[in-house]
C-alpha cells in the first residue's frame, strides 16, 4: 500500500515528460512558461493567506477551542473523536485557504506524521470547497434555485470526513 503512495508522483512525472518529448514539445521552455504562471498564481493568493492565517491564529491562540472541546467531550462522554479536527472539517467546504491555515497550525503543534497531522492531510486532500464552488459556478450563469446541489455536495463532504477518520485509523 505504502509503495503505491510513493510511486504515484515519480510515475506521473516520467509519463508527462516522456510524452511531451515524444510529441515534440519543447519541454524545458514549456515548463518555464507554466512555472511562471504558478509563481503569479501563488502571489495572487498571498493576501488571502495573510487574511486567513491572521483570523484563524487569533481564534486558535485565544484557546476558546479547548474550552469548547472540553465541554463537548464531557457531553458526549466516552466516544473518542478527534475533536481538534472539527473546525477544519467545518471550514473546509467554505474556504480552502482557511482549512489550509488550520492544517498548517496542526502540523506546527502535532507534526505532519502524528495522528492529527495525517488526518488533517487526508481531510484536506479528499474534499473540496463545496460552498465556494457552488456559489461561483451557479453565480456565473445566474441560477437562483440550486435544488439539492448544496446539501448533495455537503453530504459527499461528510462521507469524505468520516472516511478520512476511518482510513487514518486503518492505514497508520
Amino acid at each position: 500500500m505504502e509503495v503505491i503512495s510513493k510511486i504515484i508522483l515519480p510515475i506521473f512525472i516520467i509519463i508527462i515528460v516522456f510524452y511531451g518529448v515524444k510529441k515534440r514539445v519543447n519541454v524545458y521552455d514549456v515548463f518555464l512558461e507554466g512555472a511562471k504562471d504558478g509563481l503569479i498564481a501563488t502571489f495572487n493568493i498571498f493576501p488571502a493567506i495573510i487574511a486567513m492565517i491572521f483570523a484563524i491564529n487569533i481564534f486558535l491562540d485565544s484557546n476558546v477551542l479547548s474550552f469548547v472541546i472540553t465541554n463537548v467531550s464531557k457531553m458526549i462522554g466516552g466516544i473518542n473523536l478527534p475533536l481538534e479536527i472539527i473546525p477544519m472539517a467545518l471550514l473546509r467546504p467554505i474556504s480552502g485557504t482557511a482549512s489550509l491555515a488550520i492544517m498548517n497550525d496542526i502540523f506546527k503543534s502535532f507534526g505532519p506524521d502524528s495522528y492529527m497531522g495525517r488526518l488533517a492531510s487526508i481531510l484536506q486532500g479528499c474534499t473540496d470547497t463545496t460552498v465556494y464552488v457552488i456559489a461561483l459556478y451557479f453565480g456565473s450563469i445566474k441560477i437562483a434555485k440550486i435544488r439539492h446541489a448544496l446539501w448533495g455536495g455537503l453530504f459527499a463532504d461528510l462521507v469524505g470526513i468520516i472516511m478520512a477518520i476511518v482510513l487514518t485509523n486503518l492505514f497508520f
Binding site: I16, L100, L136, I141
Partner: protein
Amino acid sequence: MVNYIWAFLIGIGIIYSLVTGNINTLNESILTNANEALDLILNLLPIIVLWTGILKIAEESGLLDKFAKLLMPILHKLFPDVPKGNKALGYISSNIAANMLGLGSAATPAGLKAMEELQKINPDKKTASFPMITFLILNTAGVTLIPTTILALRVAYKSASPGEIILPAIIATACSSIAGLTLDYIIRKRAKKWK
C-alpha cells in the same frame, strides 16, 4: 459567507482572549501572524511552481486532453440527459482531469464553460438542471490524485514520508464521490417518477 466567518473568527478570538485575560498572547499573535503567512507561502511556492511547470507540459503535449477523453464513457453514463457530443461533456472532462492532477487554476475556467453549455440546454434558466447538479457534486467531491499543497507543507514540516497520505486520500475521495453521485442518482430517479 466568508466575510462573516472571517469577522466571526477574529471577533470571538479577541473577545475570548480579553475576557480570559490572555492579552499578551493575543498581542503576540496579532504581531507574528503575518510572518507565519509568509512562511506558509514560501513553503508552498517551490512545489506549486514546479508542479504547474510539469503540468504545462501535459497540457501542451495533449496528454491532458487524452486523459479527458478516457473519462468520456463514464461521463455518458453519469449525464444521460446531456446529448452525446455536446460541448459541455468536453469541458466537464477537462475540468475533472485538471482537478485530478491538482491543476485547480486550469479546472475553474473549464468548469465555468461547462456550466455555460449546460445552461444552453437547460429548459428553465433560473433553476439548476440535473446535469448541473451532478457536475457540481462530482466537482466538489474533489477527486485529486496529486495534492501538491499538502505534499509541500508536509515536506516543509519534515515529514518522514510526505506521500503516505496520497492513497488514503484517493480512497476517501472515491468513497465521497460515489456517495454523492448515488444520492444524486436516487433523487433524479424519484423526480422523474413524479412527473
